[in-house]
């Protein structure tokens, strides 16, 4: 890692005087035992352990809040790969955060179907209400696969919709209070639209 302490790590120009980071030394790279166990369990599932890089990074992100240089180093140490190879992976995927973010993620879908139903206005309202709040990670997101409840959002992985701008305060209150978010608008409660789907 070329990151100096305190920097975000990702926007620091490469230090050409230094050799690229090698596989982190287990002796000098402490890894939380829980995290190590989780990563090793994932690695054991695949014929080639490197297949576990996505679940491993996801696990490290859960521990560190984002794929920080330290998080990457820990995963690299357990998986015995270079940090750079994991940087390359982390920067590719939308759900892996390469900058510090709030601990509650709110993905507002702003793709076609949702935007036809007012998602851009909803996203603006969500940003205005929680964009500055350090506890929240409010993002516009590509199609989340729930156009039947457009406009919708994924709140810490829970799909809710159809949302109105008036729902925003209650949604944020639920998250802050640790309650299930907008229970009556959760996707899991929704019946299939097809008339033949009933029991």
């Amino acid at each position: 890692m070329s990151a100096q302490s305190g920097s975000r790590g990702w926007d620091v120009p490469a230090d050409l005087e230094r050799d690229p980071a090698t596989i982190p030394d287990p002796a000098t790279t402490p890894v939380p035992p829980e995290l190590r166990r989780e990563i090793e369990a994932h690695m054991a599932l695949y014929p080639d352990p490197i297949s576990a890089s996505l679940p491993a990074l996801e696990a490290a992100q859960r521990v560190h809040g984002w794929c920080s240089p330290q998080a990457i180093d820990q995963v690299a140490c357990v998986m015995a790969v270079t940090p750079a190879s994991l940087d390359a992976v982390a920067t590719f995927y939308d759900m892996l955060e390469t900058e510090p973010v709030g601990r509650h993620s709110i993905y507002v879908c702003t793709n076609i179907s949702c935007s036809l139903c007012g998602a851009d206005e909803l996203y603006a309202a969500m940003l205005a209400a929680a964009g500055e709040d350090a506890d929240f990670n409010v993002r516009s997101f590509e199609c989340l696969g729930a156009c039947d409840i457009a406009p919708m959002a994924s709140v810490d992985g829970v799909y809710v919709g159809p949302l109105q701008i008036a729902d925003v305060p209650a949604l944020l209150d639920d998250v802050r209070a640790g309650r299930p978010v907008l229970e009556e608008k959760q996707l899991l409660r929704r019946a299939c639209a097809d008339p033949g789907a009933g029991a």
């Binding site: 996505l54 995927y93 793709n111 179907s113 036809l116 639209a193 789907a197």
Partner: protein
């Protein structure tokens, strides 16, 4: 005729108990009593075409795998991310065992011993349901060593993605499953010969695999009687956008599109008309209100100049400017382009830039021609079809709504010229 959605809302259908009470895993028993070749014969007889987007015949795909003792892989593509598509989500969440049963049968026909379900990372709740179902299936002996006392063994791993549209492309998916960036690969070699870990790999969509138990139950020939001759069976259609009852509907292939959009999904809000619609996700060229009577099947939609794709209808009514639709579409593909091939990386970027120029009042009608030619230069010139998936709908919008684009250019240009009032 409901095959996949038959009483899918029955409480507890996601559990093994209810699924089995309804005859679940009987198709697997039936299949295991047959030879793999016989099972493959049923799949081929069904004429089932892949439900993920390309519409390739599933049985044929299985038959492309090399024979012999070489280790083969089966990968289920559950990375449903084509805009407008949410059918697999409903299956994963409500009837995961139907997918597992179909997958196990397919693995038997293909003689695959290792399988993976690549589910998009955003489907957290669905992946949890799937994990629970897999644990039950494993416990019951449907997954693992010597399934139900047969010679067939299968390992199965649910692999969660982390948010990338391109991982729905089969070779991008394979790279992602190998722990890398999800960059598509050069084809050939096709995955059937050299896929996951360089081994022969069969890749099928969730809906395709979930249909397999029904095919085994009914018999391939009987299944083929549903739908049309070249588009057999039923299809889940996700309808969204400007319709009154958005949602997933199961229809026999070949029904008039109007029936899906109006009778099932309720059509656009009162007083509105259909301006255009994507028949198969946002990658499909748009059709207009004049095309509503086109039968909804693979060949009829292709003949109408579009495609069935993933089976996602997005309806846009006459209150929306076509420029907004084009800009949304283009921005999505720009964001999701992996950057490996220049025509796609640059083409998506320039298309967004040119559409934004129109919106800023800086464009001239000539820009439309340039934009159309950019689309033509993307198509067929990349490793995968992500660039084509933008070029086809944008090209169709420019062709079909040229007058509106020109009017938009002129209106915005005049607006930009007006002095700002103090």
């Amino acid at each position: 005729m409901k095959i996949l959605f038959d009483r899918i809302d029955e409480p507890g259908l996601n559990t093994l108990e209810v699924y089995q009470r309804r005859g679940g895993y009987e198709s697997l028993r039936k299949a295991l009593a047959m030879t793999p070749e016989e099972v493959l014969g049923e799949l081929e007889a069904s004429n089932l075409r892949g439900r993920g987007g390309a519409g390739f015949q599933m049985g044929k795909k299985v038959s492309f795998l090399p024979h012999g003792t070489i280790e083969k892989y089966l990968v289920c593509n559950a990375d449903e991310s084509e805009p407008g598509t949410f059918k697999d989500r409903e299956l994963l969440q409500k009837t995961p065992h139907m997918l597992l049963e179909g997958l196990i049968i397919a693995s038997y026909a293909a003689a695959a011993s290792r399988s993976f379900i690549y589910i998009r990372g955003e489907y957290v709740q669905q992946a949890d349901v799937l994990d629970a179902a897999l644990a039950e299936a494993r416990e019951a002996g449907y997954v693992g060593e010597r399934i139900l006392g047969s010679e067939h063994s299968l390992s199965l791993v649910v692999h969660r993605g982390a948010g990338a549209y391109i991982c729905g492309e089969e070779t991008g998916l394979l790279d992602s499953l190998e722990g890398k960036r999800g960059n598509p690969r050069l084809k050939p070699p096709f995955p059937a010969n050299q896929g996951l870990y360089q081994g022969p790999t069969l890749i099928n969509n969730v809906e395709t695999l979930a249909t397999v138990p029904a095919i085994m139950r009914m018999g391939g020939a009987e299944y083929a009687k549903l739908g049309t001759e070249t588009s057999t069976g039923t299809k889940l259609v996700s309808v969204s956008g400007h319709v009154q009852r958005p949602g997933n509907y199961e229809v026999e292939l070949g029904v008039p599109s109007r029936q899906i959009i109006y009778d099932l999904a309720g059509g656009p809000p009162p007083g509105r008309t259909v301006k255009c619609w994507f028949p198969g996700g946002s990658s499909a060229p748009v059709l207009t209100g004049d095309d509503l009577d086109v039968p909804y099947d693979f060949d009829s939609l292709a003949k109408a100049g579009s495609m069935l794709g993933s089976g996602a209808i997005i309806v846009v009514d006459d209150s929306t400017a076509i420029l907004d639709v084009a800009l949304k579409t283009a921005k999505f593909y720009r964001h999701e382009s992996c950057g490996k091939c220049t025509p796609c990386r640059e083409g998506t970027n320039w298309t967004v830039g040119m559409l934004e120029r129109i919106d800023r009042g800086e464009a001239t009608p000539m820009d439309l021609e340039i934009m159309a030619s950019v689309q033509e230069h993307i198509i067929g010139n990349c490793l995968c079809v992500l660039g084509d998936a933008m070029a086809m709908p944008i090209g169709s919008m420019i062709a079909k709504f040229k007058d509106e684009f020109e009017a938009h250019i002129e209106t915005r240009r005049l607006q930009a010229l007006e002095p700002v009032e103090a």
